[in-house]
Symmetry: C2
């Protein structure tokens, strides 16, 4: 069977996610980001297009590196303000049947027993359609919001996250046996106490003694997404992730990292194909190339340069407000690695070209650091196929210029083309998010979390 | 105008809340407590009855004092398992228009900036219908779940909660000016940075430096419920609460506490009537007294004595598993205060009677420690009127035997009787929860939180 391409909708809980300025396009509903109807409509469009999940980015910081303050982010609505995606899920769950939800939550400002209960609650409400995008928090701005002057050192964050997951697995997988809940009205027995177990954990970061507060949900452990790109992040992903989220401008720029994660997973005894890899992209399909060009040109008129630079500065740690927009970017003037990472987004694609910041803003103001595919459905399907073949990705986290246009265009134009090619499902399979993505409602036996399940069954 | 009686629906996120065993009644849907449809239907019934709010109890502990373990709670489904009410709100918000939500969340296992964002998100989704029932956590069981061997000492908990609220007020009231968000498409300005302010707080318990992550919602600060009954709890309520939740078997048993809270509020410069007082009760209305008696007798056949004692033991700290069910209860055998509090539930009502534990279980197995009113709508309306007059309460947090029967009976039988008497609104007023309950969308000028607003406006 031809390898199927999977799609998630990728969006932040703000007026603007990766396309600063586009909220102001006359057709955009981005200014309504704080209403339930906006999100219900997004979820329904994605479900109509048989997307696997709505993937919601999050973080508790504000981009305040550019100009040394948050003014550009605030003015342009670039990833700010920002509501809490965990609070949103139940409304979308009630209005959909098959769409999954990839919800970002940080191990750095939640307690394991409390967050584990939250995801279990959502897994009940969605009947097994919840995924957790595990993040550990990367910004100083976010750290200051919760009372730490600087973000916890990178590797310490991951050590803490490893232990957080260990505690969560114990709660999700070992506290309640499958046969524990009987709901027997005749005897008045809701659950069998002999099959419900207390979890005790004394570790370096956490120390708990509790029964998991919820009965088992369909997936028990939520489907686990992760996006770490560093070596330590990849080690974490190889152990915990069932899907990873990567990003880069070309297949060649992401292929080595993907191969590394799959190899690390194999070294841990997992099937490297048990990790679904989604890469960031934005697709602007139209009925002709001319129409696509026009559409893109129209969108780009709304790009907000300050908003774009607020994101670039936030991501790289470099204050681009001091830069001449029209001078060629060179690596010598600032921290090499960060400008390198910005330049790589383009130089890999056009290795002989010299870029100015203004050109980068224009080129990359829609969809952030991922590729932007604008063209006919056939053009874009060709691109996606090429990426899958060259980079070994399983699918795409599709960003948008704005809602509704980008996602409705993808659903109405691109999805049918992928289906015609046999590259995309004709309909959802039934069942949980994990079942749809991996064929199993529960963690596979080779996943780190399954070890806690076996311990429980032996008890 | 006759004083209006206000009603909230009071329920926990479990198969059973205050009526152990009743989930197994053939008409009960309690076993579906973990589905969205169950809750959406509850919300719609309450809204049909023009209830002010659905009030959801919560706590992260399990009742494990009875028999020294959680077996009885687990077996009977008594307040266990227990899902997270914060996760539920958006689905109910999308299916209702006027009903408010009183959601319990603890200051002991959340971070102020994170929880403040959660409530702001819910205030956006509900268009100003969210209330926060502030709890500080009272059980050792809950403390162990989050890594503290014993619950934090009572007064320390309240000191921490006071500072938590101070931080939250700063975020809600002072970070964004009313005029900050402009959503001006022509200039591409989402918000005016000069009207968005960083909140710096260095305190004993919290130390933060952040902009509140959400723009102002209709209420800004959620409507504040609180239920502390101790002197320290009352001091907290007098300062922070806009509604308090009390409970007792007779008007005389609660009147002094209510008068004390109102007096404390007045001493702080507030109008004592700006605190709405709700007292716990369960109403079982029927078309005749005989039918009410039959209904109650039918319900009581399902009472689960072990489940009832699991609650009693959890609330009092006394392990009632060692007690002879048929011996008269005396104060000498165990800690006086706790048995006193259990006995008071009955002896105040029938001062000359000696009670056995079995009688208390039968008498109080439905609706917990509040009064149980079973009778015709006129009988129950008389009782409610008498309580309002004698105890100076503003309304009732109505518990139920099970859903749907109790709430539908109240809505179909009792509410029309109260309306006929001019004691109950004919329809909702429009607007926010605070607007409906106090006439103002925002905190009143005399409320502690308003001081932070003024600081901001002066800045």
């Amino acid at each position: 069977m031809t390898r199927q391409i999977r799609l998630n909708g990728f969006i932040g809980f703000s007026p603007v996610h990766l396309s600063p300025g586009l909220w102001a396009h006359p057709a955009s509903r981005g200014a309504d980001y704080n209403t339930l109807d906006y999100w219900v409509d997004i979820a329904k469009v994605l479900e109509r297009g048989k997307f696997d999940a709505l993937f919601i980015a999050d973080g508790i910081g504000v981009h305040d590196v550019y100009g040394g303050n948050a003014d550009a982010a605030i003015r342009s609505g670039a990833q700010f303000p920002k509501l809490d995606p965990l609070m949103l899920v139940s409304a979308l769950a009630h209005e959909t049947k098959d769409l999954g939800f990839g919800i970002t939550a940080s191990t750095s400002h939640e307690l394991p027993a409390v967050l584990a209960r939250r995801f279990s609650s959502l897994d009940h409400f969605t009947q097994g359609r919840i995924g957790w995008n595990i993040v550990t928090g990367y910004s100083d701005s976010g750290a200051r919001a919760v009372g730490r002057e600087k973000v916890i050192a990178h590797d310490t964050r991951y050590d803490r996250a490893d232990e957080f997951l260990e505690v969560a697995y114990k709660l999700w997988e070992s506290s309640w046996e499958d046969a524990a809940v009987v709901r027997d009205r005749a005897s008045g027995t809701f659950a069998d106490p002999s099959r419900v177990h207390r979890v005790r954990h004394e570790g370096r970061h956490f120390d708990i003694d509790t029964i998991h507060l919820t009965e088992p949900s369909l997936q028990r452990t939520p489907y686990l997404f992760q996006a770490g790109a560093s070596p330590r992040g990849r080690a974490f992903a190889a152990r915990h992730a069932e899907a990873v989220f990567v990003g880069g401008p070309t297949p060649a720029s992401i292929a080595p990292g993907i191969a590394d994660i799959r190899a690390r997973a194999a070294a841990l005894g997992r099937d490297p194909r048990d990790i679904a890899v989604f890469t960031l992209a934005t697709a602007i399909p139209a009925r002709s190339r001319a129409e696509a060009d026009d559409k893109l040109a129209d969108y780009r008129r709304y790009t907000d340069p300050d908003g774009v630079l607020a994101l670039f500065s936030g991501w790289t740690g470099i204050d681009f407000s001091a830069f001449d927009l029209d001078a060629p970017l060179t690596l010598s003037e600032v921290k090499e690695n960060a400008v390198q990472s910005l330049l790589e987004t383009f130089t890999v694609a056009e290795p002989d070209r010299v870029w100015t910041l203004r050109e980068i803003i224009a080129h990359n103001g829609i969809g952030g650091r991922g590729p932007l595919f604008a063209g006919t459905p056939a053009d874009i399907a060709d691109e996606l196929e090429a990426w899958v073949a060259a980079a070994d990705v399983d699918g795409f986290n599709l960003s948008h210029a704005f809602f509704p246009d980008t996602f409705t265009d993808v659903v109405d134009l691109l999805v049918p083309e992928l289906q015609r090619r046999g590259l995309y499902k004709q309909d959802y399979e039934t069942g949980t998010l994990r079942g749809k993505l991996s064929g199993s409602d529960r963690l596979k036996e080779t996943h780190a979390g399954a070890a806690y399940r076996r311990l429980s069954e032996a008890a």
